[in-house]
Subunit: 365 residues, 2 copies
């Protein structure tokens, strides 16, 4: 745990240093740009750093020579930069995601577009605050995307493994964007698809937008950075992919039943948004045709009352879908741990990855 | 001209090959993703390829050994990829820009978010077509941003100049995003600023969002790729920056007075959007306080009638601001050509850059 804590602290220090480095050049263009750095700093202060941790332990897993003591500070520089880059990328993805979902909160503070709206309102600027909020957040996300790429380049530039690590990074970037697209598409297009396909489609969305992105890809990037041969990257993927599915299934349960005080998001957030999750697919499959019509009419309807949200929660619970998702999480975690046990990696990394597997699938926020 | 035509054709071939290469991997995730490739292809078919051309001639300008005949095919591979990358980046920027500006058209076809809206409507999907259009276009832009980066990497990976070229590319990416942010900010915050600052602020916006981005940066990227020392990059910048300002001033005139049949955009587009351009700053400075209040109330007001657009056009024209902008364009072009004449570069490149300077500042679309 000490090694994970050290990594998280080093990533935070790299984030702070990066933003501090950028500040003067932005200020030299215009003092108005300070707001972009301030918002980035706030946004990057929070978060659970799961991607940074999986990236680190993927790297550590294939460095046989480190032993239990772990690498020295100099050896850490590239992997900390790579982990920092993933956190910057993730911040960008969240900023864009919150625009698309019209979310009010993120990491316990107002989402980026809401913060830009608030500045617009405070300053009494002209025009609609909402369009300013959306446009400014879109650009902040673009800026962070570019910065994540710069930091990733600085991580790999001097390494013999740079091409392999870059290929994994590029794959992650493309696949999560495609997964997000399938997600917003499914939310709108699901009635076109046969009932029998709904579960598989929901599963595909979380595979790309979350499982690969949040766990498999960070592991692969870290491992590739350490110079892993394809066999070892594949072994880590056999652990990371089912774990990533379990991670997202837990997230889906929290999105419907999570405690707002702990998640930092409104109760039943996913129900208001109309997300077509695996949980929803399982629940719908268990409903009668009439019940399903009623359910579909409520899910994602605008201006859902608290009572209607509770109604949807109870309907889902009554189908047994929650137990079914818990069962799936259990099976996926077991698959993941099984793959981890078989993987040819060092003992320290294996133990930390086991702990991380526990953390990401049993969390309440 | 033959050499420029060859470049444009090679860039188009690279774009086509890149998208064709990506198609199977997207299809293997989901057939639904084909739409993203189709829209990218349509979007990337149009455009004037100015950025690709400046990138090419920046490269060519510092390759003394090529002589008049030009480089052979093998030598062209990296620069064509770099130019292709700039066109992909530009397509991404346009997709995001059109969301922010709520534009209906781009390059003579419906903008990306409108095309996604149309698919939503055709398919009778659930929810609002406008939110789907915006979200899908946001993600298409993100995808293209990532792809532009991949192509740029493939351009520079084997070159000794890779770090220098990458630094110029990164600078471009950051600065145009910041310039765009200043642009949307100025549109809302301009009443807060003293009259005496309005012109300088409008000038700063076009410096970053357009002049550096469209001309200075492509030249610098091409030159850095060819291994130019800083002095030569600076010499090209002394040509590119004033030319870029002139280019954007021409664009501002077209945004107010351009012929919709030629520009592919609605008449008086910038007036409807309320852009705070140099042209507008000059016009306002020449108006009486009462006239200015009337002008400000119309500029960017929602639902402007055709008559009100004509009114604004005539008001601007009557101030003499059009002549003043033409005068500024003339001075900037003269500065640019002066710098070009002094630059230590080959004759062929100089001649082509002179021609390009003419094209970008005298165009009608």
């Amino acid at each position: 745990v000490a090694e994970s804590t050290r990594l998280v602290d080093l990533v935070q220090a790299d984030i702070d240093r990066f933003l501090e480095d950028r500040e003067p050049s932005l200020a030299s263009i215009s003092p108005d740009l300070g707001l972009l750095v301030d918002l980035s700093r706030d946004l990057l202060r929070g978060g659970k750093r799961f991607r940074a941790l999986f990236c680190y332990w993927g790297w550590r897993a294939v460095r046989d020579s480190d032993g239990d003591a772990g690498p020295d500070d100099a050896a850490l520089v590239p992997i900390v930069l790579a982990a920092t880059s993933l956190e910057l990328f993730h911040a960008a993805a969240l900023v864009h995601d919150d625009i698309m979902d019209n979310s009010d909160m993120r990491r316990g503070i107002p989402s980026a577009h809401r913060r830009f709206e608030a500045v617009h309102a405070d300053e009494n600027w002209t025009g609609e605050k909402s369009t300013f909020g959306q446009s400014a957040a879109l650009l902040l996300g673009d800026l962070l995307l570019g910065w994540s790429d710069e930091v990733f380049d600085s991580a790999i530039s001097a390494l013999p493994s740079s091409a392999a690590a870059r290929a994994e990074f590029n794959r992650m970037r493309t696949e999560v964007t495609l997964g997000q697209y399938l997600d917003i598409l499914e939310e709108r297009a699901w009635p076109d698809h046969p009932e029998a396909e709904q579960l598989a489609r929901a599963h595909r969305v979380i595979t790309y937008k979350s499982a690969k992105y949040s766990i498999e890809a960070p592991l692969a990037i870290g491992a590739a950075l350490a110079g892993a041969e394809p066999g070892r990257i594949a072994a880590l993927a056999s652990f990371g992919l089912p774990l990533g599915i379990a991670y997202q299934l837990r997230d889906d349960l929290l999105g419907v039943f999570g405690d707002p005080a702990v998640t930092g998001k409104p109760a039943g957030d996913d129900l208001r948004e109309g997300k077509r999750t695996v949980l929803v697919a399982l629940a719908r499959a268990a409903l009668s045709a009439a019940e399903r019509d009623r359910f579909d009419a409520l899910l994602g309807a605008s201006g859902l009352s608290d009572g209607q949200v509770t109604d949807l929660q109870e309907t889902i619970r009554a189908t047994g879908a929650v137990e079914e998702v818990e069962r799936m999480i259990g099976l996926d975690v077991a698959d993941a741990l099984d793959a981890l046990a078989r993987a040819d990696i060092g003992r320290t990394a294996r133990e930390h990855l086991m702990e991380l597997a526990e953390t990401v699938t049993r969390r309440s926020a």
